[in-house]
Subunit: 188 residues, 2 copies
DNA sequence: GTCTATAAAGCGATAGAC
DNA sequence: GTCTATCGCTTTATAGAC
């Protein structure tokens, strides 16, 4: 429901109706509105982990074709840009909770933890691709890629750019960033 | 007030109180809530143009020192990452209206127009830096830089990363992107 | 655990006087 | 142009029965 109407548009009564229960029961289980949002964020995180793992397992179709670390990184990032209900829901709700945290500190810690884990995963892929690159440069590249992904995500979800355009820009960004890490000439 | 409490937290009564007028007068001038938001977006755009122009005028301090197009681009992008009330307000409100448009199509056209103008300005700087680069590559680079800026902006404003870190990541991104455009070997 | 009923407050918008 | 007063609806949260 957060993905459909946003945090601001989430009504406890609507939620209860859709769940087929009473509002009282919702408060019984989640305590209050912030508790509801906290559980929603946890749910989103679990679900993202789930489909990330699922993609990893069924990822290498050909035995050894196109199975480079660069492709693995691209594939992982592009997971967030799919027009599947589950993915779109997750991206929308995640972005909304992030945007909401600008004005409500409530969920910041949880968001920071999830974001750090996510950045670390991207950094792992970058290290696999460029083992010789200095750690700070890798971290910075991972942060730029994830921040770019979030920026593109909002544009996609608000209809400002089409899905394929977002995917294309992200793909080229991976190329730009990984090309950069491979060039030892420039600092940082 | 949007920068302080978000679109979702904006109350017409509060707005009227802060303006020292009645709620009735607010409706008289802005028609309704959406009208209020539309005017706010216009105000933000005008104000951004204002301080961008002001920065351009007082930008080159030394006669010809450090006045490269690369520095001009960096300076322009970094304008959005300053801890001045006016800038922070503008960034916060802009980000909030953008995030809000994911669920409310109302302001999408205005946002798209403003975003396109903004991307074109960045592209102009890139062309000045790399006149030989193909137009699609320049446009894509400009879109990546502005999308990254928006992603970093949310992280900064929600306290996930400090201001200086956002500035540093943006600076290096400019380096990565402009370095890329200067390399004619790779397509796109 | 679950429901009904309702308190209590908030909020967008309008009417009508001046 | 501006204000006061208020309608009418929505929403969070709780009380208390079952």
């Amino acid at each position: 429901m957060i993905a459909r109407q946003g945090v601001r548009g989430l009504r406890v009564a609507d939620l209860a109706a859709e769940a087929g229960v009473s509002t009282g029961l919702v408060y019984y289980h989640f305590k209050d509105r912030p508790g509801l949002l906290r559980q929603a964020l946890a749910f989103i995180g679990d679900r993202a982990d789930r489909y990330t793992l699922a993609a990893d397992e069924q990822a290498p179709p050909g035995p050894a074709e196109s199975a480079g670390p660069r492709q693995a990184l691209e594939r992982m990032l592009l997971l967030e840009f799919q027009d599947l209900p589950e993915v779109r829901e997750n991206s929308t709700a995640w972005g909304e909770l992030r945007a909401h945290s600008v004005f409500d500190p409530e969920l910041r810690e949880d968001l920071a933890a999830a974001g750090a884990a996510w950045t670390a995963e991207v950094a792992d892929h970058l290290v696999a691709l460029h083992p010789e690159a200095p750690a700070p440069a890798v971290t910075a590249a991972a942060e730029r890629l994830t921040a770019l992904l979030e920026g593109l995500s909002v544009r996609w979800l608000s209809g400002l750019i089409p899905l394929e355009h977002a995917r294309e820009l992200l793909r080229t960004a991976v190329g730009v960033e990984t090309g950069r890490l491979g060039c030892p000439g420039e600092a940082n």
